[in-house]
């Protein structure tokens, strides 16, 4: 891991909150891996309104994977979804950048404290997201960055997202932590068809066996149909009868 660079935080406003404050009351399964605190910079309203979809995958993304990420993100933005990703190299970076370029909204769930940039080349993107969209970390400002935090972050990203799409990932990829967590939380998990066709990979078939769905260009509406259609609130819903 590269040495991270700390930012001058004077110009940015950070807020400490909790998952329940941000997302509404959590059930027992959600509480199991939920962090005690979250640190946020940007528009908290992005966690109160609209459907949030994680678009995630490998840092070493192929050119075809970049194209697939961009196509998927544009489709999600057209449907009003908020694109969530982890601000890592590869798929994550393309997911955030494409969402912004397409005029959409994006949430970065980072594996470092918010006063650090990792990778360093994403400093500009991270600053833009913190100023105009929303960045979330479960690691306190000033705390050290550790490799294990990225897997922990992936579980938090599953919690924040109504659905998760894995674009491209090899065996042992950190992305898989989020896939399994989404299944545990009972949230829709989609794998691009191109992943399932890769016979050398075992994990896509394992996840499909536990309820992950295969996303193709022909069934893309399945993804939008499983997202909440109405305005969401962080408050507990009243019984409507």
């Amino acid at each position: 891991m590269q040495r991270e660079e700390r930012m001058d935080t004077k110009s940015l406003k950070f807020k400490e909150t909790t998952p329940a404050e941000l997302l509404g009351p959590l059930n027992e399964v959600e509480r199991k891996h939920a962090p005690r605190a979250l640190y946020v910079a940007g528009a908290i309203s992005l966690c109160r309104n609209g459907a949030r979809v994680s678009v995630i995958g490998t840092r070493e993304v192929s050119p075809a994977g970049v194209k697939r990420t961009q196509d998927l993100v544009r489709m999600l933005v057209e449907r009003g979804a908020i694109v969530v990703s982890g601000l890592a190299r590869g798929v994550d970076t393309h997911a955030h950048s494409t969402a912004i370029e397409a005029g959409g909204r994006t949430i970065a769930v980072v594996g470092t404290p918010l006063d650090q940039f990792y990778p360093r080349e994403n400093e500009k993107l991270q600053r833009k997201i913190m100023a105009e969209h929303l960045a979330i970390s479960q690691f306190p400002l000033g705390s050290p960055a550790e490799r294990k935090n990225f897997a922990i972050r992936n579980r938090t990203m599953a919690l924040i997202s109504h659905a998760t799409v894995i674009v491209e990932a090899g065996e042992g990829s950190g992305t898989l932590h989020q896939g399994w967590e989404a299944l545990r939380l009972g949230r829709p998990l989609f794998l691009l068809e191109s992943l399932v066709k890769r016979t050398e990979l075992k994990w896509p078939r394992e996840m499909v066996g536990y309820g992950a769905q295969v996303l193709t260009r022909d069934n893309i509406d399945v993804l939008s149909e499983c997202l909440p259609q109405e305005i969401l609130s962080g408050e507990a819903s009243a019984l409507p009868f």
Partner: protein, 221 residues
Amino acid sequence: MKPLRCLSSVRFGSFLAYSPRGKSADSVKSRTMIRDIKNVRSGYMKRVADRLREEMRPGKRAEVLREVLGNDVLVVPCPRSSPLVKGALWPSKEICDELVGHGLAMKCAVLLERVTAVPKSSTSAIGERPKPLDHIRSMTVVKQQELELRKITRITIVDDVITRGATLLAAASILQHHFPEAVIRIFAVVRTKSYDPEVGSILDPVLGEVSLNGVDADRKP
């Protein structure tokens, strides 16, 4: 033991109604409600069970649901469409626990499990939705539980939502096969109103029947 066959019909009860596509205020509210139930939003199902218990009192609208619920009924959560990862959210199990906690069932037992995934009905094209026989082939009885519960006379399979009832008819068929003396029923908190454009009243307790129609399941009402 006789070979396992799909039952020709099974009685069901449901408490609430929801519209997948209606535009009225109640239809929209019903979709928010279904999301809160399916996601096991903290405290939500407890409030639904509070209201169910109240509405099942003599003379109230949901009194008819005593045919499927009661303090002598063993409730069995309906399996999800795929095997569960360890510790996964299981809305039907949460509902069963609330029913027991509210005195609307005697005990909850995990008697059925999914061993192979089937396509989700909610996201499959109409002709491609799994049929009752597909469900029967993909589910099994948890044997240890079966032996301990031989003397149970009323068993109700519980799910969050009933649409056609294919999964529930299959689950009922498996349990009837293993518990031939028991009266098997179905309870779903919510029934889908697929054929009506709007939900009408969300609070809409009904008793009805899921039957085998050709190779598929059919629910009335």
